[in-house]
Symmetry: C2
Subunit: 327 residues, 2 copies
């Protein structure tokens, strides 16, 4: 008898997806959001949950917890080029949870929603043995501005927003009992790239897009399988966050493990025709964020990483639930 611990989260979700009837859904399971036709727009819907058992470091404040569940859901709207319309939240909480804890979670969630111009419009709450938070975000995007995970073509530039490894730095700082709130924020207070997503969407030049919350390597493998293409990534081009570089001086930290495999960074990964790349860079720069070329899409269905002028196959690691976790 197969258990979820044998399957892992991704196989379990595949198993669900195969059972579900496919209807008039423009984009269904397998992308960051579901997209449903609504006049000349798509209604975007996404849901993401976190549980005490797998996601929530003890050092995370209740307010950060609230911020986190909102931010990670908005990130999926961002990855499709969408404008958020609102969120609903559901909490499972033990009976002895204090009113103050509940209030702080709510304040953090509300703060994040307001920061990104949207609202929490409803929710539910039930008793549970361990704490979990479940969020659903919804948004809208014009059909011709929707950025799908599908569409990457050989020759396209591969690029990421911002700098990578902030979540890993936060995690390793915590693990080493370093009381650095700024570094920890990279892990527990992610910024969904909504403005950046919109800027990229309106210029209609992105061929595929997703967020890299599962880790860069894992995200690249998902795009490879969906698009039946490959990638050649240049390791030295990957933009490494200041936090990783600083932390590396203090503890034994594997920089490329942090930026390639760790996950938890809510940046956008895009592919784009090379002649349009500069336009994309200047669009994203308007909101103050960098867009960095880290390689290219190739025909061969494999992912090569080039480091010190040597090519090798990129490992597919990244975090997967049920299989392992170590907070």
């Amino acid at each position: 008898v197969k258990k979820l611990s044998d399957l892992g989260e991704r196989k379990a979700i595949e198993c669900i997806t195969q059972i579900l009837s496919k209807g008039n859904i423009a984009v269904g399971p397998g992308d960051d959001c579901a997209a449903i036709e609504f006049g000349d727009e798509y209604l975007l819907i996404t849901t993401d949950m976190v549980s005490e058992k797998t996601h929530i470091p003890k050092q995370m404040t209740p307010s950060q917890l609230g911020w986190f569940i909102v931010a990670i859901n908005l990130s999926d709207i961002a990855a499709k080029g969408g404008k958020p319309l609102g969120l609903v939240l559901s909490f499972g909480m033990p009976k002895d949870t204090t009113q103050e804890f509940l209030e702080e979670v709510t304040k953090g969630a509300n703060k994040c929603a307001r920061k990104f111009g949207t609202y929490i419009v409803g929710g539910d709450m039930k008793e549970a043995s361990d704490l979990f938070l479940c969020g659903t975000a919804f948004g809208r995007v014009k059909k011709d501005e929707f950025m799908s995970r599908k569409g990457a073509k050989p020759g396209d530039v591969v690029a990421v927003t911002g700098k990578l490894g902030r979540a890993a730095a936060g995690y390793y700082a915590l693990k080493n009992n370093m009381q650095d709130e700024e570094i920890m924020k990279g892990l527990v207070e992610p910024f969904p790239r909504l403005d950046e997503g919109r800027k990229l969407a309106v210029v209609k030049i992105v061929t595929s897009c997703m967020d890299i919350s599962d880790g860069l390597s894992s995200s690249l493998y998902q795009l490879k399988d969906l698009n039946n293409i490959g990638f050649e990534i240049e390791q030295e081009k990957i933009p490494i966050s200041k936090e990783v570089l600083d932390l590396q001086k203090q503890i034994n930290l594997d920089v490329y493990e942090s930026v390639l495999h760790f996950g938890g960074d809510y940046e956008l990964l895009i592919t784009i025709p090379p002649d349009k790349f500069e336009k994309a860079v200047s669009s994203v720069k308007k909101v103050g964020i960098s867009l960095t070329n880290i390689g290219k899409v190739v025909e061969k269905n494999a992912i090569i990483i080039v480091a010190n002028s040597r090519k090798k196959i990129l490992e597919n690691k990244g975090y997967e639930h049920f299989k392992s976790h170590d907070f």
Copy 2:
């Protein structure tokens, strides 16, 4: 220090609601669904969760569990007169959950969605100590067809769809170890009144509407507080389900406790001007369901129940989480 067990679910939700910023949401927390302006329509969103600790009798099959989480969310869309656009589901499941269990839950959920003309468009899954399911349904309704909880006026007829007590009968049959699958279905395979909700919405004569999943008495108290009105309910007029009447012959069952307070019936409670009541009855009859006049809206802010020609104050009981549960 106040704990959730002191507050109870409803007070806890009030405490959340007070913190949340109110935006351009047409209808926010406090109704069955949130309603957001979307052109000349409202986008309806609702979320509802069930957890092993509070909601899930052991005898419920995984397929029924899947049906249940979809049905209870669709019921909130029904209560606003909406057409469902889809659902997303999130599962928290222990590591040792079998693949078969997951598949059965998914099949049950898909079956319910298809039965009511809609689809499950996405979801998430995480490891948890106990099983819980979290659903979000979304739908659409023209602004002038939206049935709010607000609007009940003195003189209006109070009416319910279908017959009450099916969930209570299912529960008491289970508790008494009766192996009657048909009776049990009233508890674990509810039918959202989507067709009935649409029929009532298009004629635009309903002054307020909600589902009675929390129990009839609890729902009446919610409408009373929201509308600052009262009710006079005639106990003998309440339509009692066949299951309750049958079960009463076999076990010691309090019929009026079952139909007034138990909860778990997903029927609609509406108020409607008396001269339009017959039109509502014939609209709902088109989909095969009865609509029964059980009393009237009165000015005085209290709920009176008339039984054997004697008036008394109706108790406000109904199920509330954190405070008590006994599955």
